[in-house]
Subunit: 401 residues, 2 copies
Amino acid sequence: MVTDDGLGFRRAHPSALPVTGAWRPGDPPGRRKFLELPPDRPFALEGGGLLRGVVLAYETWGELSPERDNAVLVCHALTGDSHAHGRIEAGHPTPGWWNGIVGPGAAIDTERWFVVCVNVLGGCQGTTGPASPHPDDGRPWASRFPVVTIRDMVRTQAAVADHLGIERWALVAGGSMGGMQVLEWGVMYPERVRALLPIATAAAASAQQIGWWSSGRRAIAMDPRWRGGEYYDAEPGDGPHEGLAIARMISMMTFRSDDVFTQRFGRQVVEPVEGYSLWQRFQVERYLEYQGDKLVRRFDANSYLLLTKAMDLHDLGRGRNGLRPAFARLRAPVLSVGISSDILYPPHQSREIAELAREAGVPARYAELDSPHGHDAFLIETEQLGAVIREFLASLEDDHD
Amino acid sequence: MVTDDGLGFRRAHPSALPVTGAWRPGDPPGRRKFLELPPDRPFALEGGGLLRGVVLAYETWGELSPERDNAVLVCHALTGDSHAHGRIEAGHPTPGWWNGIVGPGAAIDTERWFVVCVNVLGGCQGTTGPASPHPDDGRPWASRFPVVTIRDMVRTQAAVADHLGIERWALVAGGSMGGMQVLEWGVMYPERVRALLPIATAAAASAQQIGWWSSGRRAIAMDPRWRGGEYYDAEPGDGPHEGLAIARMISMMTFRSDDVFTQRFGRQVVEPVEGYSLWQRFQVERYLEYQGDKLVRRFDANSYLLLTKAMDLHDLGRGRNGLRPAFARLRAPVLSVGISSDILYPPHQSREIAELAREAGVPARYAELDSPHGHDAFLIETEQLGAVIREFLASLEDDHD
């Protein structure tokens, strides 16, 4: 059911697209390990409400040292998952999203560090989310799943740390939504982190970011196949994939840059036709459609709604009398990394993180990736970013000595 | 049916939203004049195909001099229309879109210049478009309406010029999609323009621009109420307003800037509620929804599809062996204006226009509006832009002497 159109984009026939791309119990676990939170102690959410039967999927690389001082937490972004390092294999439809940064001999060297990555709460790759079975009736949570926040995600990660016997992370690192988790770690658990590495992120979501993400949510909600979130019983091909694909198209536009699109696609059309038609596509349109389809096969529309909302709600200062008092809780040194061409999380926001941290009295530095790749540079520019991370880690060792 | 929510945003009940916001024969004409193209001579489109029964709506201000040498054409952008100057009145739901630039005593002084603005072909404010009656059956053209190009628009404007006895425009000016028309005027009718003023536009649409506009088109096409373009018979409130509103949200995001959204909305929520809900809105979301609703009342979803496609097809070099040979046709001096914070038509594209014109041997200058307002600055920064235009017009007079 997959066709190659001869131009490198393999597109699925719509009927082959699943109603949800979520990993579900029974699917191959791949490298995942699972932590079930105690069923007698429901997980209390920041927004009120209790979540019972929470399962957390995570992966680890390397060995925890006897002193338990070499643990690194990497936090994934919106459409990432626990598979920060590794190949495509049964249970893992994508290669490790940070293969260039995490691995043997890489900047976050798994021969030196014990690296952990947890699929976020509300996600769809093994950790409890809207596609997971509700403990009451075994049917998907669907629209019953409550709104979660970045802080809720971080508290689930703390549960994984407890489970693994990690009292203090040597480093918490991540980009985009992952960077929001990094910052919350520093504020919520100042004694449990030795260093923070937020990348291409913000201390609080801006109105513009909220505007982008909410446009995508509205596109999903408009898809008649979304069915108010109750689509899991639909036939294959009858899920909200068009809405999710449009949301993905919008976000792909904000993830990349003018330069990159021009260089890669220019004004090439897919198939030249006589005259013009409204739905004749330029290459860039097919690329975006292809990206949309690809996401549909490994993601869940309801998770997309929840995680983008969590990003919109992200505000380190919320309930803490503002950003400055929040930053005053930090104890760990901060390296904040921005990306020169990022239009979604513009570099001034990453600079602001370093400034606020410095004002709060912790050692803090700002580094900028000089890249034409836009926001996604934190996944692409692994050489440049790797060098920055190596230097940061080395400086921490020096302090430690 | 209009409610004011107390926060300055008056929202219509969905059932009060029209299926199309197009001006239709029988509606108050306002200031519009109409030119009917001869019914025996169908209008041939660039993409092939003939359009019969074309009507062009236009407005004029000031008086044509006996020498007919003071005519200025202003070209409107995507959601503009012929109402470049004036008030809200019967037939005109919006004030003149360039009131600060065109008018008595303004930079384009209607006491000095005879100013003309024509609603574009395929639009929805009086000129023939998809909501207009088809000459065969009197029913809306709807999906039968052919794809039009910027060049087609310019040729209809030439017909208006002929009708008004204007052999040569003293100036053709416009921003965004209007700027594309300005450039095509210079290339298609080099002898009919004395000066060109393209603002915040491009010599050819970039892959990124195509990506943005095509996302909006897909949102409209996903709206089940769009009905393949055949929605004009629907009940009020049953038109494709959700799809059009989402397309508008996406474009509003690209029209403005991070700074402006932050300053205006920050992270304020519409109504604070206990806990969080997925559809609880931030102010910026309500603003975008309000802008979406507003557009739905005065625009037509099928026109949105056609005009954004016309912009994607815009390429001065198409069929002319590329940009350089196209620019070589220019005879008129060019002032190309860019906007410092424009993420949709970034300033480098406006600089490129001036460079290509200079290389082609016409006097050409680049000026940049220093503005935080993003793309929309060409509608907002009327003082800064007005000064630039005055200077340009004065320099032309000098040359003339």
